[in-house]
Symmetry: C2
Subunit: 424 residues, 2 copies
């Protein structure tokens, strides 16, 4: 199978071995983990194994694989044509030297990673993809997709996200959603029917509801699940089969509800509760959570695309025509408050709401280095944190481990400021 | 006057003194300069003097001052309401420490400069501005304008530039042009009439034609004017009175035509001819031209917003209604091939055309550090240069002088590759 996918086998084995070690150190060493996490441990152990086999099987059944890098790509449409929707590899420092032949050194780690994974032949998902959907959410991605299109020999389809959510922006985006639907129909030779669209809408909404349920359970003190584990569930949501994933998240939530009832948490009650806000954390980017939870605090939420922004709002399923369904899909996706919009005050409201609901003691703003939209918006997030009187820490980092010591020192100092028994 | 404008006098005197020294060293030391440059020397010497007085006078006559940072802002509309259109200060390393309280350290020098000039109280233009027009051409500017709007107490008006030049993008942009016109009418209490619009169109087109004429004269070998001087003329085009400026550029061109006829150049015939392509160079950013021309080559063109992109296409003046005029204005501005668009292949064609017309021996791609759109697009520009067999050099730098030695070494090595008597 790996040969067919044109994977660099030796380097790939090395990557899996590093991943496995990191997972043992960061995840399996955690105490009082819910039983329900065993499924996700298994999924991670098979991230470049069984899941790829499933996708290869799906391709044999003539299903198409759609690779994505952004929560703005409407999964409902992919499912409506029986496609497999996969978030592509972008969370590890891989193939950087190779990537820098195509893109500048001063590029954010996520973009460098997706380029690196591809040019180094290390992402089996991108190899299986029939279509790769890009979007214009930031300068880096927007321009890198032009090069990625060359590297993948013309597989990239770019959806335009407007800069403003005004009437013209909404119209433009709505047309982009329809253009994407048409592209999917052409690619698969299938027609999107109302029945298919409604079924897909239900499937994706159920996934969202499960993730919303998980998010709300983290409001308890003590939290019944670690931030690391919750982050992992969110990361897995981008590449697992959606129905199976939803069932497993709900099973996990059943268990967590029992924990909440009995007052059982992963750590003691009363330790500092941290809300993380900012750039997405693609798997296996667990760096910041590991530092914070390793310093005696608990991460209770992620105002992030790998997190709340992905599931915060559900789609209105009450539509009676394909046209109406498309409009509702377009409208639903525009509720995602990405920093690509100007202005983006809705995100500040989300942060305020989440901070209150999750009883956050501190907000850590996370920006991948060179991620200009989130780095810039940190200025306004700090003002929001000041307004609601929640301590605020700004972190900019990449995927390397070089600054771990320095970040740990800064996080520990921040937890002391919060001053709430943070000493693990 | 300076007190009224709330300028930091001591720091401003320091800035002017540094500017004056730099101008002497870089500009006045040049040999065989055209007589016509004397006007521009004078303008620079009065950049924060007489020109500000003129603008203050205009304000007394109830004219409004519109500050801009981008060639996408339609000057025709500003002139139609008797406004003064001014490119704001963004070309020097000023107030960086102050600016970094608002925007990240990893921000391009141009953005850091406009923030720095404002927060350090050093740009009299921004102080006189009644409206500051932003645009969504890059993540950095798009998000910095949100903060700049706070810093300037609500003076910023942002025009949305779409990410693609497709039908929806064109419609969106056309509506933005009309929205800007309406904003100007509200601000000034004046109505844009067909007569006014046609007059403004003519004024701006004449400015463009003068700059086109200057550009074409640089195709001669030897070039009748240095790249430094031509760059300066382009920089001055953003803040001088447009009619006076046009007359002075045409006078200069008359002189240059005589030079071309007599075979007189600023340097010897046959030295390497360099086309610079990339990020804009706001006054007083003369760094790269100074290095290249100080190394025995001559800069013959700037595929840049401060340069060719600003004047390459004229507006079609054949319109008979305001509505039609607006549509033609919207269409004309969309011919500017900014790296904010995806894809942006038209820019590659422009580079190819300019390279041939100006008989370039080498292309130097210039990106301000952290200017992601141009840094990324350099990859494709290199491919274009390879295709037309013109040597290519990629430079990324900021406004500081720290890397002058290193850049000079790289430029000299590049000129040796060109191998055309480059040894000054």
């Amino acid at each position: 199978m790996w040969k067919d996918l044109d994977i660099n086998l030796a380097a790939h084995n090395g990557l899996l071995s590093v991943l496995s070690d990191a997972y043992k150190n960061i995840y399996l060493s955690q105490k009082k983990r819910p039983e329900g996490m065993k499924y996700f441990d298994f999924v991670v152990s098979e991230v470049h194994g069984l899941r790829i086999e499933e996708i290869v099987e799906a391709k044999k059944e003539k299903r198409k694989v759609i690779g994505t890098f952004c929560v703005y790509v409407p999964e409902e449409l992919v499912l409506s044509v029986d496609g497999v929707c996969i978030g592509l590899c972008a969370g590890a420092e891989v193939g950087s030297d190779e990537a820098e032949k195509y893109i500048p050194r001063n590029t954010c780690a996520l973009i460098k990673a997706f380029m690196g994974f591809k040019v180094a032949g290390l992402c089996p998902y991108v190899q299986t993809a029939d279509l790769i959907v890009g979007e214009t959410t930031c300068d880096g991605k927007k321009k890198a997709y032009e090069i990625f299109n060359e590297v993948t020999k013309g597989k990239v389809f770019v959806m335009e996200i407007p800069n403003k959510k005004d009437e013209d922006g909404r119209k433009l985006w709505s047309n982009e959603v329809k253009r994407f639907a048409k592209k999917l129909e052409e690619l698969t030779g299938k027609t999107i029917t109302l029945e298919k669209l409604k079924e897909a809408a239900k499937t994706v909404n159920e996934k969202r509801k499960a993730l919303q349920r998980l998010s709300m359970l983290r409001a308890s003190d003590p939290s019944p699940i670690s931030g690391l584990d919750a982050l992992l569930v969110n990361q897995v949501s981008f590449y697992d089969d959606p129905r199976r994933f939803t069932a497993k998240v709900n099973e996990l939530c059943d268990e967590l509800e029992q924990r909440v009832k009995s007052g059982t948490g992963v750590a003691e009650k009363g330790i500092p509760r941290i809300l993380i806000s900012g750039s997405p954390m693609a798997i296996p980017n667990w760096k910041l959570h590991a530092i914070i939870e390793g310093s005696g605090a608990t991460v209770v939420g992620e105002e992030s695309c790998v997190g709340e922004r992905n599931f915060r709002t559900s789609l209105d399923e009450n539509f009676t025509s394909i046209e109406e369904g498309m409009e509702k899909i377009a409208a639903r996706y525009l509720t995602i408050n990405c920093a690509c919009f100007t202005p983006n005050v809705e995100r500040l409201t989300d942060i305020e709401d989440m901070s209150r609901q999750l009883k956050a003691d501190g907000i850590v703003h996370y920006a991948i280095q060179f991620c200009t939209p989130y780095m810039m918006e940190a200025f306004k997030v700090k003002k929001t944190a000041d307004k609601i009187n929640v301590p605020f820490l700004r972190i900019e980092t990449d995927y390397s481990m070089e600054d771990m010591g320095q970040l740990k020192t800064r996080v520990e100092a921040f937890l002391e400021v919060i001053g709430k028994g943070a000493h693990a």
